[in-house]
């Protein structure tokens, strides 16, 4: 593809009109998929899957905790990517996307922490441990909160968007720093058992509900983000229309 074609495609995506048209069908689709996967996954995890040999019934928390962990990190990557796109190409839609994703990422990270705590208490005997994984997830949660707080404190203009983008990218650098600095100490959290050489170490009967819930969380994220973005675009339209009316009304 030539540079000209790529630029046209990308700037086409950046067009709010096209976004509204595309999200008009994408949002209900994502919402329906999310609902379906939750309806399948929640009972599957809660009732129709086997308990763990060692952990007993508490292993069921894995199905709601692990997808939250995965996607909170994925959402931050998307936030950093949108922020980078905004800083470099100044596409308004990239900023709209970043603003929309942050509260959802915060919710997923918070859910990961809370469900992890409920899982840790029966299995390790502790509500919390300061190891690398838990601490860096806490920092991720605080970074999301900080981003939301900054966007709330700044005006909804280009300056606020640029500042938010800088913060999102600075936080992206900080996350591995925090992770490895804490990992310098011993870690209590279970080492990687899903994406691992030699294949997953979890029982095949647990993969079904886990990946179903992972899909549910992903579809929910897409649906919620698209809805938030649509709301933001409507609000911008309203503000622009009000500004036009104010200008034409002024003598």
């Amino acid at each position: 593809m030539t540079t000209a074609k790529i630029t046209t495609k990308v700037s086409g995506l950046a067009n709010p009109q096209q976004f509204m048209a595309a999200s008009g069908w994408a949002l209900p689709a994502a919402g329906a998929i999310a609902l379906l996967l939750f309806v399948i996954g929640l009972p599957w995890g809660l009732q129709y899957s086997p308990p763990d040999y060692q952990q007993g019934e508490s292993v069921r928390i894995m199905y709601i905790h692990v997808p939250a962990a995965w996607w909170s990190m994925g959402i931050y990557a998307a936030l950093a990517g949108s922020s980078f796109t905004y800083l470099v190409w100044r596409h308004v839609l990239a900023d709209v996307a970043a603003r929309a994703m942050a509260p959802i990422g915060a919710a997923y990270a918070g859910l990961c922490l809370a469900t992890g705590s409920l899982w840790g208490r029966p299995t390790w005997g502790a509500w919390w441990e300061w190891d690398a994984r838990l601490t860096s997830m806490l920092v991720l949660f605080l970074t999301f909160i900080g981003y939301v707080a900054l966007r709330a404190a700044t005006d909804e203009d280009e300056r606020g968007a640029r500042l938010g983008a800088v913060l999102a990218l600075a936080g992206a650098i900080n996350l591995p720093i925090v992770h490895y600095s804490v990992e310098w100490w011993s870690t209590l959290h279970q080492p990687a058992s899903i994406l691992r050489e030699g294949g997953s170490s979890i029982h095949p009967s647990m993969i079904g509900p886990l990946f179903t819930m992972a899909g549910a969380y992903a579809a929910a994220f897409v649906a919620l983000t698209l809805a938030s973005m649509r709301a933001d675009i409507y609000r911008r339209r309203t503000r622009a229309a009000q500004a036009r009316r104010a200008r034409s009304a002024a003598p």
Partner: protein, 213 residues
């Protein structure tokens, strides 16, 4: 004098006028309050006392961050700095360096009596003072970015704390882990300081451009 030198002199003068009194007072106040709060239990103080130096230093550094860019943004000096014949990154670094000289150095030296007050062995003093010098550099480096991003925000104090604290965690962690022993944790602390001094001004410059454009 080079433009950057002039900027540095300006920053040094401004930082000097604001002075190290407030963060120093806070730091020493905390180191006095902690043993009082822990009571006469010498054992408890010996175990938990020294790491609190790092927390007190982090919070003291946090106090000084607002003064980095807020005033300049308000009175328009920031626009003047943009016109200066020096890169924005270098200007941000100059601000940080001035703050480190005026606040970071005294704070590190105040670590010496703090070590004694918090029940740690006096042999740890050189290590902790050296560590505090590095940690303050790390706090200020990261703080430059947080302050630049929040300049112009009303009541930015809490927001600066929220944004800066995740970046403050590694230096506090390594400083407390070292405890004045010049061990491997000290090297990690030095690495944090180096990273913050290199990346902090860069991020701050990006944020400043976002502020003024």
């Amino acid at each position: 004098m080079s433009p950057l030198g002039a900027v540095f002199r300006r920053e040094l003068t401004l930082a000097w006028r604001a002075g190290p009194a407030a963060p120093l007072g806070f730091f020493l106040g905390v180191t006095v309050l902690v043993p009082l709060a822990m009571g006469p239990e010498r054992v408890l103080l010996a175990q938990a006392g020294a790491p609190l130096i790092w927390i007190a230093a982090a919070l003291a550094a946090l106090m000084t961050l607002e003064r980095l860019f807020q005033a300049d943004l308000e009175d328009g000096s920031l626009d003047q700095l943009f016109l200066a014949d020096a890169s924005l990154t270098a200007i941000a670094a100059a601000k940080g360096a001035a703050l480190w000289i005026v606040v970071g150095l005294p704070l590190a030296l105040a670590g010496a009596p703090a070590v004694v007050m918090l029940g740690a062995s006096p042999s740890a003093i050189p290590g902790i003072v050296a560590g505090l010098l590095l940690a303050n550099a790390a706090f200020i480096g990261a703080g430059l970015a947080a302050a630049a991003v929040t300049a112009g925000v009303k009541r930015a104090g809490v927001l600066i704390a929220l944004l800066a604290l995740p970046f403050f965690a590694p230096p506090v962690l390594f400083g407390a882990a070292d405890g004045g022993a010049f061990g491997p944790a000290f090297l990690m602390l030095a690495a944090c300081a180096a990273a913050a001094c290199a990346l902090g001004p860069l991020a701050a410059a990006a944020a400043l451009r976002a502020q003024v454009e």
